[in-house]
Amino acid sequence: MAEIDARTLGERIREARKRADLSQEDLGRAIGLDRTVVNKIEGGIRKVTALELSDIATATRVRMSTFFEDPVPALVAHRSSQGLDTADSQIDALLAKHSNDVEFVDSLKVAELGLDASEIVSKADIRQPSTNAETEALAVQARELMTLPAEEPITNLSSAVSKVGLLAFSRDVGKDTADAGTILLRRGGVTLVNSNMKVGRRRLALAHELGHYLIADAYTVDWRIASHSDDTVPLESRLDRFARALLLPESTVRRHWQEKVDQVGERNAAILLASKFRIDMSTLATRLKELKLADSQAVASVRNYRTTQADIIELNLYVPLEELEGTTVPRPFARAVLRLARDERISRERALDLLQYTVDETDLPHTRERRPDEIWKFVS
């Protein structure tokens, strides 16, 4: 952790207090100090003990180490552009939390975390796509980077993106907030997907965030993915197309769509394709439209088809576990945390906390048996 002066520490305390929407008096009351003392601490005049600082961290709902560590540059840039007084949205706060957690685990040098994979992206030197052709090409390149076959469905997208150093978390943050957000770390990145959406939209949102990550957008919070028009936000629109092209490769659709329609009819063709590639009907309809494979009437029909229970039985559809459902943590991150817990390098409580309580105490690795010499080697 970096050495910082009292003034910087005071400023960081002030920022944390404001983001927690607390007055100096509120904070003082929470930690048993007078408001004037809090004022002096924030001004760097009155020194603060380690224990007081941990109380301040608890009251402002941040981890104590954030006062000493240089924050992720992307977070600093974002927050300065928003102004310190701006209360962060829930998704912003969660992105900050997840990025701190990932950087903490990374600092303990656990191979399972796999952030070395991000080097593949920096070496690829990817540019922002400015045409549809470049966007389609980026989707093909993304599959290559993630070592995925060119035409196969991506059954586990969150696992695939981790192969390029992007760790995808999910949580239900409600329907009136953003779909997803991404923050670039010093190496690798973190995405949070709002699991309030249905599975097809969640996967589309993650694919869109992968686009932001690949072109090295430092900090993004995205709303209503897949509904951008070219005129308003060209880049967002391109990344929407990138997301569709990634999940539903052009070559596959071109080769199979008309053939399937001729064989089983339009509705069943749509249901089979959407099910196989795990996308929603709206995404399929837009994909058919942008590849000029269906007229406007067919596109409208596809958009309105719904897969029923009867379809699942009659068409013998495979229904896997829903990806990014509820609160999830990326597998490499979970493996790294379990490694730390197994090796007793972090407490079990902290392991459960880092895993967002997606597992419980009984799921954690058993404490290993003590070897006799481990206890007694301290005996002089």
């Binding site: 952790m1 003990t49 600082l53 941990s54 006062f67 902290r350 003590r370 206890i375 005996v379």
Partner: protein
């Protein structure tokens, strides 16, 4: 304030075991002239513990156990690192102060928790635990084996992992050559 490197810094658990069993005097005897410290995070845990176990207050009243509070930023940063590794909802705070003292001042820490001890070793902090101290006490004829056997059994009933079962202390230390028969 600098803490001498020959100081012993106690975590809450070991101190609680000593006070509950009424062996605080033995600990002072064991320390000989070594200074004994606790960080303020341990002091707070002991204060909280007195609500359930009033005898723990003896450690707070002992004038030879010094409480250390630090506003040094290097200490704060070390403390914060251990919070990252150990603390959720305020649990394990005491150990963070102990480990920070071991790291910053180079003193020997007394911790029973396995994870905190693993971390101490990783950081090159000198660390010991309750049972080794008690073995030393037997060897120095400051405690009897019968007394330590009783303590070992009480530790087994709590969270402490020992390489023997209830009643197995004596056999174990003999079999492993930790104490000679005539030292028991």
């Amino acid at each position: 304030m600098t803490i001498p490197s020959n100081a012993w810094v106690f975590d809450t658990g070991p101190l609680r075991h000593f006070t509950i069993n009424g062996w605080l005097g033995v600990l002072r005897f064991l320390a000989d002239n070594r200074p004994v410290y606790i960080p303020d995070s341990v002091e707070r845990e002991l204060v909280n513990a007195t609500a359930n176990v009033p005898t723990v207050g003896a450690a707070l009243d002992a004038d030879w156990i010094h409480v250390h509070r630090s506003t040094d930023q290097g200490f704060g940063a070390a403390f914060a690192h251990y919070v990252d590794r150990l603390v959720v909802d305020g649990k394990n705070m005491g150990e963070c102060g102990v480990l920070a003292m071991g790291q910053i001042y180079g003193c020997e820490v007394v911790i029973d928790d396995a994870t905190a001890r693993t971390i101490a070793e990783e950081k090159g902090i000198r660390v010991t635990a309750t049972v080794p101290l008690l073995c030393d006490a037997i060897r120095a004829k400051k405690l009897t084996t019968v007394m330590v056997e009783a303590l070992a059994d009480s530790l087994l009933e709590s969270e402490y992992h020992l390489p023997f079962g209830p009643g197995g202390f004596r056999t174990h230390v003999l079999e492993n050559g930790l104490l000679d028969y005539d030292e028991l």
